[in-house]
């Protein structure tokens, strides 16, 4: 199944991001169940990494907690294998170095074996994407690419063409985080330009953490990605209450 199938006409696909193993795998398992029960069209599952260049403090801290707890890539793949039959499609979100050390072909095989539907790697640019895209493609896994506000139109068109399943539209400059809201005017222009060159669904992320922000982008995109806000919603809570916090947050958002 292509990831494009998670986008339904007239409906905003909700794609939450959660860091695997923050603070432990059991908690993540409970959060994934809560997300599945509360309308997630797909789930981005973060693989913990110590030097996340595209992430702000919230996701960086979540990754650090998971690493401090000893969570490794294989633990994340085992979790995916356990839950994927009962969950919406799972998209692994990882930096390139852990994948590179695992071996591209080996990683693609392991991710497919676990049942992952997609892989997003924020520090693999269009120019460097091909080896991993081909390795994943050989196992039927798609690799959505990112378009940023600073991406020139001609380049955005080439990214959209190579992007697997959908196009991840970064809605503002900077890194992930609930702080600054999307910059709507440039985002609208970016979306309009992308619509002119691709039929692939467009999902917006970065800086979207409230219902008002979701509603602001709802008319122009096919999906919305929410990460830091969701992590903030449970990271102060006791482990057994994390899934409940997530359910409550998602309800407030949609």
């Amino acid at each position: 199944m292509s990831l494009s199938a998670i986008f339904k006409p007239g409906q905003l696909a909700f794609i939450p991001y959660v860091m695997a193993g923050d603070p432990d795998i059991a908690t993540t398992r409970a959060i994934l169940a809560a997300l599945a029960a509360n309308g997630a069209a797909a789930i981005e599952l973060g693989i913990p990494y110590g030097d996340p260049l595209a992430d702000g403090p919230t996701i960086a801290a979540a990754g650090a907690r998971a690493l401090a707890n000893g969570v490794k890539l294989n633990d994340v793949l085992s979790l995916v294998k356990d839950v994927h039959a009962k969950a919406p499609p799972i998209i692994l979100f990882t930096y390139y170095n852990p994948v590179y050390q695992f071996g591209l072909a080996e990683f693609a095989r392991a991710a497919a074996d676990a049942g992952a539907a997609g892989v997003i790697v924020p520090d693999v640019t269009l120019e460097e994407a091909e080896p991993l895209r081909l390795a994943l493609g050989a196992h039927g896994i798609e690799m959505p690419l990112l378009v940023a506000p600073s991406t020139p139109p001609e380049r955005a068109a080439r990214i959209a063409e190579q992007s697997g399943g959908f196009v991840y539209v970064v809605s503002r400059l900077g890194v992930t985080g609930a702080g600054e809201a999307p910059n709507l005017e440039p985002l609208r222009k970016q979306i309009a330009a992308l619509r002119a060159v691709t039929k692939k669904p467009l999902a917006a992320g970065f800086g979207i953490s409230t219902r008002a922000q979701v509603d602001a982008v709802r008319p122009i995109v096919d999906g919305v990605i929410v990460g830091s806000g969701l992590i903030d919603a449970y990271s102060g809570a006791r482990r057994e209450e994390a899934a409940g916090c997530v359910a409550k947050y998602v309800t407030s958002l949609l």
């Binding site: 690493l67 695992f102 120019e127 990112l146 600073s150 380049r155």
Partner: protein
Amino acid sequence: MRPDARGYFGEFGGRFVPEVLVAALSELEREVEVAFNDPAFWKEYESVLAEFVGRPSPVYEAMRYAAPVSRAKFVLKREDLNHTGAHKINNTVGQALLARRMGKKRLIAETGAGQHGVATATVGAKFGIPVDIYMGAVDVERQALNVYIMQLLGATVHPVTGGTKTLKDATSEAFREWAARVDDTFYVIGSVVGAHPYPYMVREFQKVIGIEARGQCLARFGRLPSDVVACVGGGSNAAGIFAGFVDDAGVKLWGVESAGEGAQTQRTAASLNAGTVGILHGSRSYVLQTAEGQVRETHSISAGLDYPGVGPEHAFLKESGRASYVSVTDAEALEAFGEFAKCEGIIPALESAHALAFARRLAADRGEGDLVLVNLSGRGDKDIAQVRRLTS
């Protein structure tokens, strides 16, 4: 050599960054191409280096330090005599001139010990461009004097509290800050690391060391060195001096990493000697990392060498065999620091002391007709309090 169109030296280098930074790197790459072909750009760079930095730095024959073990000439390239006390300023002058050409309104930089931060704050003050420095919270504590110097020069110092709170995290934070204000901000990277075109660009700004040294050796000693020795953290002073001799096949090139407590221990910073190929801060090179691809904590007595990565061109020079990379422990560097000061009346930076320690060992294997050239990359005033603590 020039990297290929995608920024690779052989299989090392490239551009592994979030998409938000790609346009800025492409813009920089275009500007570098134009500026490097513009004689007026180099003319201004050279004039700032002459009048503000004090170049050319001399070469100087050290008569006593290696004499007990060697009859070879032992020659220093005196980058310690530059304004701000190290080679770092050659690079920040070049990048500030580029930033001005590009109309950027702000400079940002990472710093470990504070040397690159001071060099960036210095050119920011000279050219009237505001400067923000990102520095690990642990380093802010350890290097309070350099923090104060940066502030005196008008820069704002931002302590970074993520990760290990040291140079690696300061670099990541500077990348993030650049991503947030990529339109008006110029990121002044302090070494031959990062995404293309940084490793190439920084090397070109440090190449002046090697070009001068080659001419000075010929003029003064009537010959080229048999060996050129430089310390390697990220590797900018080594890349600079190597660039002057890389085409002279008879000149051996030696990069000296910090072994810390031993290159095969966990407490090391010797990326080329103890690391594996990986991706860090935008390029593919050798990285000290776990089997799972997590970047390891590093250790070196010298803050300037305490970095888990290394410039991609060094990885290429290692693979191709053109340069050799060795390592020196904390204890050996400390011993060389004290010995060199007593023998020569020059207090070297702890970074440079690594090069001196290996160079003396090397000189012991060299004879009457040989000439060992060491890049004395910086002066050691900044290290005196630390050395005093460690040795008393």
